[in-house]
Amino acid sequence: MPIITMREAIRQAMDEEMSRDENVILMGEEVAQYNGAYKVSQGLYDKYGEERVIDTPITESGFAGVGIGAAMAGLRPIVEFMTFNFALQAFDQIVNNAAKMRYMSGGQFKVPIVFRGPNGPAEYLASQHSQATQTFFAHVPGLKVVAPATPYDAKGLLKTAIRDDNPVIFLEGELMYSWEGEVPEEEYTIEFGKADIKREGKDVTIITYSKPLKVVLESAKELEKDGIDVEVLDLRSIRPLDEETILNSVKKTNRCVIVDESWPFVSVASHIGWLISNKTFDYLDAPVELVTNEDVPMPYNHKLELAAQPSVDKIIKAVKKVLYI
């Protein structure tokens, strides 16, 4: 199987879907002539032309709304945010228009749009440019939220997102674009709402998604040296959430740590923590632990920046805590 980068996997997904369906268009800042600020859309402008790969001014609220209108009227736009930090300017359009249009029109409209782009902590960028936004979006009924951790998952999930008739928030870890992984040449899609066990284990479940999967797998390896057998569950999609796989894994291991690089307060992590305590209370041998970003805006200073995020150390500590060692 070819080994490609996350960037290439996402590009392939868009390319294949654009050639399959001419209603699919891509728009955003620098996506066309510049080939994308992070070069994700490399070559698409040359291939599909300016009618389908569209550079916009820096008007997040405006172009997100335009995408929503076009989707309501029959196109299938992919709207790239240069990073999800700037999607906050479009938050009103995404929440009040994209997410609710179907409901408040009594089911008349479909809003088949994908909002995608880099998300999550980056490096040395300080608080406005380095934050995980998934919890904001996951809060909203009417949106689907996915966050792949491997090139394989990214490609399969993005193809599903583009074919979905609902607004999908597709989150790509800003520091993940050059990560590599196997991606088959033949066509495939990955259904939303299916978590993936990235590592089988019997002693403790670590639940994560997106970029932290890497530190979680490293932690699992470290813990293996101490004879601790970790199961790693990658959510892949946050909304819909694969409750069944989560609960089954916890029922098997009886212990759980959730690793999430967003803030802890009313977050994806805290929701899952509640879900587990509510549905598998009798199976738990220890309270669920969270390892999240510290509850602070991201500092610029690198030492503090690293200290703010989940790390192998913090994960190992949390695992040992739920194991009472």
């Binding site: 300080a126 030492k303 503090l304």
Partner: protein, 323 residues
């Protein structure tokens, strides 16, 4: 523009000095970035110095205010912030103007009326307008200069702010620094018009286009604008300028031609102003070299200060979240 004889020579030399200081400071910063002592985005202002210096030189920072975006080194230095604290901020040190928590895009100095530093395109425009509201509310004698790029002018925040500033008669001068590109996008590709100053008409304000490569022209236009703004009508200035470097250190700037860049380098605001001062016998080449030496020393000392400054303690992670 007035005859040079009508200017105080101290002012003229000061304008040149400040532009040069910005240039040398940023060259030093770029060098430190190359050595990985500074991380993240570093958006240099090189080429655009005349805009910040020409406009801010009109201000009295005990009464007036400045708000800028992420390309803020020039504005901060022109405002009189300590180069040491700015360089230390780039290094992420506790001695930095934002305690190492902000970095290049987030220079702040509350006491010196420098309100950013903002990484979100256009986000400082309503903030600056709010400062104007405070000045008006307290019946103070002050003005706000608000800087943003050609890329920011299409944001709703800009249009909403101008309307509010006009209906409330706020003392704000909005200065669009049109350096021709928003990242890789030529402003003509994303703008319905190519003279931004006419946008002022939509809000019944004064609008004016100025040559942003000419520090005196910026100085005069801003002086006039401040007068008008203080009398209750906000102003929009569009300063036509050019950035000599890429959008940030990671941008090779392939979207523009070498010829275009060369054309603007011929109009270097520092060199051309120096020549003007020399022609008028206000400075000699030796004076200039001496000035340059001083600026280089300030930049070098700032880097030394930054390097020798301590990192923030780990505890700083949890400070400054709430007042």
């Amino acid at each position: 523009m007035k005859d040079l004889k009508n200017y105080d020579t101290k002012l003229l030399k000061d304008l040149l000095f400040k532009m040069l200081l910005i240039r040398r400071f940023e060259e030093k910063a770029a060098q430190a970035y190359g050595l990985k002592k500074i991380g993240g985005f570093l958006h240099l202002y090189i080429g655009e110095e005349a805009v910040a210096v020409g406009s801010i030189s009109n201000l009295d920072m005990t009464k007036d205010y400045v708000a800028a975006a992420y390309r803020d080194h020039g504005h901060a230095l022109a405002t009189g912030l300590d180069p040491n604290s700015l360089m230390a901020e780039l290094y992420g040190k506790i001695t930095g103007c934002s305690k190492g928590k902000g970095g290049s895009m987030h220079f702040f100095d509350y006491k010196k009326h420098f309100f950013g530093g903002n990484g979100i395109v256009g986000a400082q425009i309503p903030v600056a307008t709010g400062i104007g509201l405070k000045i008006k509310y307290n019946k103070e004698d002050g003005v706000v200069l608000c800087y943003f790029g050609d890329g920011a002018i299409h944001q709703g925040a800009f249009h909403e702010s101008l309307n509010l500033a006009k209906i409330w008669n706020l003392p704000v001068v909005y200065i669009c620094e049109n350096n021709h590109y928003g990242m890789g996008t030529d402003y003509r590709r994303v703008s319905a018009i190519d003279d931004f100053s006419i946008m002022a008409d939509s809000y019944a304000m004064n609008g004016k286009q100025v040559n942003g490569m000419n520090v005196l022209e910026v100085y005069e236009a801003t002086k006039e604008a401040i007068e008008i703004a203080k009398n209750g009508t906000p102003v929009l200035l569009e300063a036509k300028t050019y950035r000599f470097k890429g959008h940030s250190m990671s941008d090779p700037a392939k979207y523009r031609t070498k010829e275009e860049l060369e054309k603007y380098k011929q109009k270097d605001p520092i060199i051309s102003f120096k020549e003007l001062l020399k022609e008028n016998n206000i400075i000699s080449e030796e004076d200039f070299l001496e000035m340059d030496k001083q600026c280089k020393k300030i930049a070098k000392d700032a880097a030394k200060f930054a390097e020798e400054s301590p990192e923030p303690d780990l505890d700083e992670l949890y400070t400054d979240i709430y007042a």
